[in-house]
Symmetry: C2
Subunit: 257 residues, 2 copies
């Protein structure tokens, strides 16, 4: 790809959180790459030689199964990486990784990261912990898919995007969201209007703006926040408002602030 430059400082939480010696070990192998929207970082079954530590933008994990249209089963932003599973085993990707919101990433070759992980147990187990956070996210997505209605699921998804893009403007179309959620576009349009009517978001063509994050979180109830707290717990993140099992998601549950 293009846009490969040398690295100044990492904006990726996994890189920022790993042991300094591990970070220093892989540092020379990292190169920054731009991630334009609508490209695939990995395709199901196609070996990928690169692993991406996302610095900005949003990647969706898409599950196709044997169906025509895929479904979004996971989200990755600056809190995560793409390709962790191809690291721990010589396996082909099991899902598509699709750039929903353009951004950039620090990229390392699979062989380089694999070598590093084999030489440092600490690094390997650190990255494996991240895999567990993805499992947690997916598990809670199952729960929400079954129990929450379209409107709540949409709100949840917007919050998850908001956590990752960092700004309040989310470049998403109704069609976009409808495919990711596996519902009709008309259902998304209706849900968007409803959330807009409450004053929580503002919708324009191809753009959703978050205006009242707390309102959205409250509306989602138990369907937002659990995955985010688990991420913190698994990766040992300490946040100022660390309220363990209180109902109040406290606004700092994710990776936003």
């Amino acid at each position: 790809m293009q846009g490969s430059t040398s690295v100044a400082r990492a904006c990726n939480d996994l890189l920022a959180g790993m042991a300094p010696q591990d970070r220093q070990m892989i540092w020379p192998d990292l190169h920054r790459e731009e991630l334009p929207a609508r490209i695939y970082l990995e395709r199901t079954g196609d070996r990928s030689e690169k692993i991406y530590f996302i610095e900005s933008g949003v990647i969706s994990l898409l599950e196709t199964g044997d169906l025509r249209e895929p479904i979004e089963v996971g989200l990755i932003g600056r809190e995560g990486m793409v390709g962790a599973s191809s690291l721990v085993t010589d396996l082909f990707p099991q899902r598509d990784s699709y750039v929903q919101v353009a951004g950039r990433a620090l990229v390392i070759t699979r062989s380089n990261l694999l070598r590093a992980a084999r030489s440092s147990d600490k690094l390997l187990y650190y990255l494996l912990r991240y895999v567990q956070t993805q499992i947690a996210q997916m598990s809670l997505t199952v729960s929400a898919s079954v129990r929450a209605n379209v409107q709540v699921r949409l709100a949840r998804k917007l919050l998850m995007y908001h956590d990752r893009v960092g700004i309040d403007d989310l470049p998403l179309t109704h069609e976009n969201m409808s495919i990711m959620m596996g519902v009709r576009r008309a259902s998304v349009t209706h849900a968007i209007h409803s959330l807009e009517g409450e004053g929580w978001i503002r919708a324009q063509r191809g753009l959703v703006t978050i205006r009242d994050r707390q309102g959205l979180e409250k509306y989602c109830g138990p369907f937002y926040g659990v995955a985010e707290r688990r991420y913190d717990q698994i990766m040992n993140i300490q946040r100022p408002t660390r309220s363990d099992h209180l109902p109040r998601p406290s606004g700092a549950a994710g990776m936003s602030a």
Copy 2:
């Protein structure tokens, strides 16, 4: 627990499929345990000191989130193990593991398996591959939860249970299934009747008997079989009727035969 005896021969696919030297290494540490129905092998957040290689019976992975009732997000039988994730990291279980169908398992302590995995990369990466199969299963569960109706989801679930119990009689109540699927009991009753009307199953009080597996598989369409083929692929299982992407699930897609 009770029922701990010495081991004669493993009926667990993971143990059967691992490298002989790895199996021999952990063999002395394994003890057989009976798994009575309705107990929990792991609870979310409670450290578990045991890891279970399931020989028979069915374990559900239950996700509670912050909700009152849990949802089944994964199934484990003789093809798998409970506690794999607490192996690769010193993490608490992130989900409940509940014995849906009684059976037995070969049990090893976490510290023993952890030591073995640290001394054998091959073993570690083998078990990590199994974790990937669980992710695949969960990912396809998301897909099915969003796109398939209750009747198809029920059929899919019955097939997955059938794969794991080995016999045609599944000890499940309607209430049981309704909780696992997150729907009304009445919805399950209706779906059961419908599947029964097609002659694919036979239902009695607390018991569902599979009578026409192929019929069920055909009815599920793309919602059954993909996860099972991925398991084979990830774990490098070779089966006689290995038809890669043909629509025919061929009856040997799972771990049944």
